[in-house]
């Protein structure tokens, strides 16, 4: 478990009086592994053949910006402005932040855009990758399935979809609201290569990204995660979808991460 990024998330969410910390904490190992698999120098230079990362569940932006900070893509001065008046670092991912490829926040947008990027990279004959991170609740949006169907049809082998399967949406458990399972067979039947891993195990996520196969298919990595991971009283507790950690809650959370 990556404590360093979690401490950064807690810090900026606390200082900004922001929300969505539970959704951010389930994403940490996914985002960190994705950026470790990107050529950061090409991203910094905005090279046309760079790898691309889209956080489609845009409300996990405190995790995105914190991870980008730890990978040298956001300065500490800028990060301190998160969720504050006049900052470009808001509660949903913004393309006004350098190196953020696409603004998200309305769910079901990142995957179609990522498919477009993958098609564009293929047309220009670049071998870079497109990583799209979606939430499991987000998969209720029909637009995702339009693009999953099309990516499979087009055999976009440069597309890697990572699903943050934390099993909770805003109100309750996905299984009670509208089940999205069985995800593995749904992706597979749409011509994806599927990996089902512990979403807090960076080595497993990394192996799934790096594994060389001959299929030439797009890849879906189902990352089984815990909402609020790393802070005991936030884990699997939807109160922390919105609540901002302040006062004693903050002190307790900080002590757990230390």
């Amino acid at each position: 478990m990556n404590l360093e990024i979690r401490r950064t998330i807690l810090d900026i969410v606390h200082n900004g009086g922001a929300s969505h910390i539970g959704s951010a904490l389930s994403l940490v190992e996914i985002l960190d592994t994705v950026f470790k698999n990107c050529n950061i120098e090409k991203i910094k230079k905005s090279n046309i053949d760079r790898d691309r990362v889209i956080l489609s569940k845009g409300h996990g932006t405190s995790a995105l910006y914190s991870t980008m900070f730890h990978h040298g893509l956001i300065s500490s001065e800028k990060l301190k402005t998160y969720f504050k008046n006049g900052s470009v670092l808001g509660g949903h991912a913004s393309h006004h932040v350098p190196f953020v490829e696409h603004s998200t926040g309305a769910l079901g947008h990142g995957l179609p855009v990522g498919v477009g990027m993958a098609i564009g990279l293929r047309a220009k004959k670049f071998d870079s990758k497109v990583f799209v991170i979606v939430g499991d609740g987000e998969l209720h949006e029909g637009s995702n399935w339009e693009s999953i169907m099309f990516a499979g049809h087009e055999k976009l082998k440069n597309l890697i979809v990572l699903v943050d399967c934390n099993r909770l949406s805003q109100v309750g458990e996905l299984e009670e609201c509208c089940s999205i399972e069985p995800l593995e067979s749904k992706f597979r039947s749409n011509n994806f290569e599927v990996f089902d891993v512990d979403g807090h195990d960076e080595m497993m996520i990394d192996k799934s990204i790096k594994k060389i196969t001959e299929t030439g298919l797009p890849r879906a990595i189902l990352c089984r995660t815990t909402k609020g991971k790393g802070i005991s009283f936030m884990e699997c507790n939807n109160l922390w979808h919105y609540k901002s950690p302040q006062g004693e809650d903050y002190e307790k959370a900080l002590s757990e991460l230390n």
Binding site: I48, R52, H95, E101, H102, S103, G105, A106, G108, H109, L111, P112, V113, G114, V115, G116, M117, A118, I119, G120, L121, A123, K124, G142, S143, E146, S147, M149, F150
Partner: protein, 298 residues
Amino acid sequence: MRGDFFDKLHKEMKKNEKIFFLMGDTGYNLVEPLFEEFPDRTLNIGVAEQNLIGIAAGLCNLGYKPICYGISNFLIHRCLEQIRNDLCMHDYPVTLVGTSTGLDNGALWATHYVVDDIACVKPFPNMHIYSPSSVESINQIFDEVIKLPHPSYVRITKKSFKENIQTEQINHFVIKNENSKILIISHGRMTGNAVEASKISGKISVFAMDKIKPLDIEFVRILTKNYKKIIILEDNFNSGLFNSFAQIMIELHINDVKAYSISPKEDYGDNVGDTEYLDNQFGLTPQKICEFIEKIEK
């Protein structure tokens, strides 16, 4: 008119490698030459317009200029959030080419009327809206949007109308009758109807305002100076051009001009009919336009 657009597009794609043509399974017997000649820059996304718009945004990230083709009601209404967030928020240079406008689809009925599309996309920052009146206008508009570094929507009617003169500007007089005190401002298919009405009445001028957003304020200023009775004629609810024109008149404090709207009633209706039948029902035929003119002349 669609054929003219595709002829221009074909020529442009030969010399401009940034153009990427995407369609939502629409365009049978029009698009085939593009797919044959440019297999790497053409895609049929299928009946999935939300995906179509998202893919177009993703292609812009790679430096492409996507042209998205579909039936207007699907291309606009189905994916309004994608147009807002993925195109307009990012100010991506995607051109949405919507076929069918107004009541073109006639007896196919209300799901296929395109009468509220302009008002849907008009509030979005960066969006440019065009409604070509004629074949000549299509050429002008194509040349503008292909270079435009912003999102745009071009709504193309199924009907063809030729002015038989080379237009110098997108917005222009189609008929300038020196004796006329009444001006019809129209766009898209309605300009043909306005010209027919002018032939019958002999006392009106017709101005094609084919660029609806951004509206040319200078033209509003000039036209309202020279005409004190202006009819905005459109095959769109009056939330389209009329609404924009009235807004500019208020902003310019123009209070000595009477502006009238001839447009379909804001209702989807419950009976079907061909385009002519519907035009008649909503007062859009040349004859009905003349009757309206007689009323406001008094």
